[in-house]
Symmetry: C2
Subunit: 258 residues, 2 copies
Amino acid sequence: MAIGFYPTTIYHRSVTQTNDRTDPATLRTPTHGEALAHVETAIERGDLVTLFGRCTVDYDGRAESYLGPGDRLVVLKPDGTTLVHTEEGQKPVNWQPPGGTLDAELVGDRLRVGSQRTSPSESLEVEFERLTQVSAFDVTDATELSLDGTEEDLRQRILDDPDLVEAGFTPLATERQTAAGAIDIYGTDAEGTTMVVELKRRRVGPDAVGQLRRYVDALRRDLHAEAEIRGVLVAPSVTERARNMLAESGLEFVSLEP
Amino acid sequence: MAIGFYPTTIYHRSVTQTNDRTDPATLRTPTHGEALAHVETAIERGDLVTLFGRCTVDYDGRAESYLGPGDRLVVLKPDGTTLVHTEEGQKPVNWQPPGGTLDAELVGDRLRVGSQRTSPSESLEVEFERLTQVSAFDVTDATELSLDGTEEDLRQRILDDPDLVEAGFTPLATERQTAAGAIDIYGTDAEGTTMVVELKRRRVGPDAVGQLRRYVDALRRDLHAEAEIRGVLVAPSVTERARNMLAESGLEFVSLEP
DNA sequence: AGCTATATGTCGCAG
DNA sequence: CTGCGACGTATAGCT
């Protein structure tokens, strides 16, 4: 191998014994036995582990899948999350959600890493044919993401300035419960007529109209059969089909960016 | 630094010149300049790049976000996908979908990697305060995932044995178009009455009922106002509220596992 | 643990 | 490209 003159095993955390290390423990083209010990130690420590190599993947749970041999990046997180990434796509080709338990073992002479969880019972197994690199990182990240432009922001903006929906709109409640679910903003118009406002942060299709329709119908039942109720969909824009569905249902649309 | 007696720079692909290398090019605690050259070369080659270090993240696009300093794993894929992973959660804390263009540069003395895309216009920028490890992997993976237990499987099972829905059910079309969207399975019952069948691979809530309702309503309009049409939701199970909504709408439920 | 709705959803497919 | 719905959706909030 071309890189033979470099040490294959760079793992040496057992020597340093630091508690707040920032150095990764990385093995390059390790044996499967070396990799196993490395991964076991990392899992024990609560490190984030990355593996790269040729592997197969078995998943069994809500559905079932098998992925034949190929080079992939595998990430094991201390919360049990497991990700298998190929060279393309944002979504992992296989994964395990957080909450499960990680494990690693040798199957014959091959490293197998996996994550198991219950409710629902799901199993993900990654078996390596060839290991290119195995790393362990000590990672604690308390920083929180600050995010703007959500539906929640849109709601706050409307509550601060209800005229954004229409002049005279008066919000009375958010998350008002109905038999069909919670109304985003419940209120009255300038005439005192009840209004159901459904918010979407992006262009809406038929699903959003159906949602609004369910709330308005349920509210009609909850109040009086003949109560006049206006349903308003607030979103940046609406598709043609959704616009037609709004019209058929006697619902309204107000354009508002998040 | 504890590992100073190991070579900091293991990158040496420029020496080997192999086309089908399986060795990763990995830098450990590189300078930002070294890392930049490494990442640029990797992007040029179409490699998958992983970076680990302390960084901040700026996102601007469909929404906006800022993430303060912390240790994270950053993945750059040759298709432009960018992922920023913390120690927990399946979803990246920040990301950029595929299709954009990757870039890397020094901002002052710091490495900044990013991905830009259009329609929608979105930008993701990751700036490193400290670099722990930078790797590049040559990865081509033609293998396809085989997945069982999808809605498509459920549909096929019903088409093979329509009695699974009910004795005498006769499928006439899949994906039949209505003004409200496509019906999963369109057919007739033993009496010849039109049936709209909506399939779900898992337990359903109000949204699925709304969807079925839209299709049935649209079909009533499309055919005749007074045409008798049965709407059937086929799923493993149904929530209480959804069951009530089905009853109120005169719709039916058939339990079937995927 | 189950229910409901949001998401920078992502993804695939059809028009 | 947009529209539309599925997804092993994940995730958060609430009961």
